[in-house]
Subunit: 489 residues, 2 copies
């Protein structure tokens, strides 16, 4: 296997020599072509994904559409070209005591990137997902280690990408798919000297290990590991009073979406002790009892969920509010529990992510306690605020604290359902991710795979189009500190 | 000492609660005020720096001017405000199957940053240097561990910053100065849970250690360590023939600048075996013999330089071309050596940075050998190309290879003298730095200390000015994928 990995990495590096010079326009055609190939095989892909994950086909129709629009978004970004952050400071020959040189910089791709997809999103966060799309848009060859929980889906989507590579006459080595369930293979890939970056979506343990391997290499490389979080939600009084039934419906749906197997699943709901909170709790339990139960992704995840439930429901002060108690194998019980803030604050176990349709309501005696709970969270992908404008005004200081531990702050909505757009941040301080300065979803996900290079007094004919005087691509640039699409005279 | 560090970090975090909300306009006033205070104490600072480093006062007058213009550059960037990379995607209530939420993101400061300055630039790359300036511009409190090789300069510049803090009525905790020569203190700081980022300029060993400590924390944090390089220069035929005397003068000056104690010192010159190269070598030796010798920064650096010289000059194939053989203590001998490419390619020791006025000429038998030498370099801060347009056209493929291992590619100039501007990249792949995606000099150095946060459906009154509909700061934003300074209607 090591020989195979060596040759795969070698091929990726050979392909990089070509691919790094492919124009944005051609990368756009390529990324659109991947989307098209995925759509052509869409029916088979969705059917296979459904078989391998126990999730319904309709869910994968949605996920496929999202995956394809994500690929096209990165295609558009590559095609438009301004993402390279071209910055030009022109020379000043007359400057004293020394002439000011001409300095031009832009972002260029790092090199081959290894992608480890997530089990819970075989399309949008796996083989053809955001890591692959953003790395290819950046100009980096991609080596995907297919997730062993959905090998056939991974294979089918890899084949679609390979067809697009061929159609666009690009070197084969820009996309390679490894099917192996061995942990060692992943470790070798991350430690391989020819690999320059790693994208990972999965567990804290897995992400942390890969990050350590990468940082302890002779030449450390960046790892963006998205490892999930409990996504705390604070429920304020007036909103609770005004919209209890809608909120209960919305959160029941968010908690059970994808059988709770979302990294943005709302694992902790926080409110002040009140009849409104009690009413919401009862309605949420009722709504949960009306949702259907589905099988989880695979046995490992199911068993982990069961074990974690067994632990948390017996922690001090935790009271089970609703427990579906499914008997059938692999089917997840939706579970709602409740704990007084006093106990929550004392027990760090209660802040662990439980991957599945579980949520814990933390009941605070007063606002001071709520503040303490709020400030006690480690890094989160999301934090949500349910409040009327009046609530938000009253608690604005507390709400603003959330920026210190969250990548995204959601108002009056569920955290599940990550919009893919330019402004998306799917990231956050550790342990949500290994580097809070980046995002794995949205246009800026491309920034994980690039680095700036500055060319000093470079002859015009040697400059990349992005940096040439006449700005042939018409991109936005920063010239002597000012944004402009103008040519330099 | 641990107690002292705890209270320093605590104060930095308390100050962060206030400082993170200080406007760009006020940060600009503050950074300008630091520059002013440094200038007011300029004479004493330069005199002290000269005493502590054995470098002439005039050098520090230049370095102080650079440091102050760097502070003002970051002041201008903070004041203008577009650096936060505001991105707004407006809502689409009518979208099917789900409404599109309003998503707005911007960069916010990480939190307290620890800065380890360099011994060779007590002003521009130390206490009041680029790391401090960029972190303060970002909104991060700074804790400087003053360099033990220039404690008084560090203290004087720290006092200037402290006066600016007071004048601007900012919390004291946004800038704190620790004087300690203990390595342990640095380690504790990097490991402290209240620290969120680290800037370091210095040796590979030092940077690598701090990076490891930071990555092995319970919560890993970013470290930008700039650790230097050999800065290879390739000398092409026509340029050599045309301008031998000018080139010899330029490189003699670059090699001996600051007694060779520059991280961009040209440590390796590469050329094709030819009478032109021989001629250049003789003239360079002559020019070096005409330069004065100066004392190095301190005993440790001097001894290290002597030891490294003793080693490299006895490596196989290495021939000493010029050796000043200074007898006086601490005075560095300018040394020029030469080695055939064949030997160079076999011996990795010859690629190690030698901190001092030393350069090694690598003589290649043919272009194939030159290409091999060129491709053999690990990450570099700079690579330089000396060539006429004809040379550059002939060798363009080879020159372009340099992007793969360099942060900055310099044409027809010396790599020393890093221009501070928007387009500057002072970075590069490991071992030049610990993260090639960032720079420690130039406007974008601010990006090391910030992370994006996305606000979804956030009420207007809760948005930061940068994200408000009417764009009160008039900054450049990306709205629905298009750059604009317009308000959102």
């Amino acid at each position: 296997m090591i020989n195979q990995i060596n040759s795969i990495v070698k091929e990726a590096n050979a392909a990089f020599q070509i691919y790094q010079n492919v124009s944005g326009a051609d990368k756009k055609i390529f990324l659109y072509s991947i989307a098209e190939e995925l759509e052509i095989s869409g029916e088979e892909i969705c059917k296979t994904a459904s078989e391998e994950t126990n999730l319904p086909v309709v869910r994968f129709q949605g996920e496929l559409a999202r995956t394809c629009s994500q690929l096209r978004l990165f295609g558009d970004i590559a095609g438009e070209g301004s993402w390279v952050n071209a910055v030009i400071d022109t020379a000043d020959e007359a400057r004293k005591p020394l002439r000011k040189p001409d300095m031009r910089k832009m972002l260029i791709p790092l090199g081959p990137v290894v992608v480890f997809g997530a089990s819970n999103f075989p399309l949008a966060y796996s083989t053809p997902g955001g890591d692959t799309a953003s790395a290819l848009a950046a100009g980096c060859p991609v080596i995907v280690k297919g997730h062993p929980a959905h090998p056939n889906t991974s294979q089918l989507t890899a084949e679609a990408i390979e067809r697009a590579v061929e159609k666009c006459s690009l070197p084969k080595g820009i996309f390679q798919h490894i099917t192996s369930s061995s942990f060692e293979v992943g470790k070798w890939l991350v430690q391989h000297p020819g690999v320059t970056g790693v994208g990972f979506t999965g567990s804290l343990q897995g992400g942390r290990s890969l990050h350590q391997y990468a940082q302890n290499r002779e030449v450390p490389i960046p790892v963006f590991a998205e490892m999930g979080s409990v996504n705390p939600v604070v429920l304020f009084k007036h909103a609770l009073l005004e919209k209890t039934p809608e909120l209960a419906k919305m959160y029941a749906s968010s908690i059970t979406m994808g059988v709770g197997q979302f990294c943005t699943n709302p694992g902790i709901l926080i409110g002040l002790k009140s009849s409104a909170l009690n009413h919401f709790t009862s309605l949420l339990a009722l709504e949960l009892s009306l949702t259907n139960s589905y099988k989880m992704l695979h046995k490992g995840i199911y068993e982990n969920y069961s074990n974690e439930l067994d632990k948390i429901l017996y922690e001090k002060g935790v009271e089970t509010v609703f427990h579906a108690h499914e008997q059938e194998n692999l089917k997840a019980s939706a579970v709602l529990a409740r704990v007084p803030a006093k106990e929550f604050l004392k027990n760090p176990n209660l802040k662990n992510e439980i991957f599945g349709p579980f949520s814990l309501i933390v009941v605070c005696d007063n606002i001071k306690e709520l503040e303490e709970v709020w400030k006690s969270f480690p890094g989160q992908l999301t934090t949500s605020v349910i409040g009327t404008n009046q609530d938000i005004e009253i608690h604005q200081r507390l709400i603003k604290e959330a920026t210190q531990f969250s990548g995204r702050i959601v108002y009056n909505s569920a955290p599940t359902g990550v919009e893919v757009s330019h402004a998306t941040v799917h990231g956050g301080p550790f342990p949500a991710t290994t580097d809070s300065r980046f995002t794995s979803v949205g246009g800026d996900a491309i920034l994980r795979w690039v680095r700036p290079v500055c060319y000093q007094d470079c002859p015009e004919f040697m400059l990349a189009p992005e940096l040439k005087n006449d700005n042939p691509l018409g991109i936005m640039r920063k010239i002597n500190g000012l944004f402009s699409r103008e040519a330099i005279k």
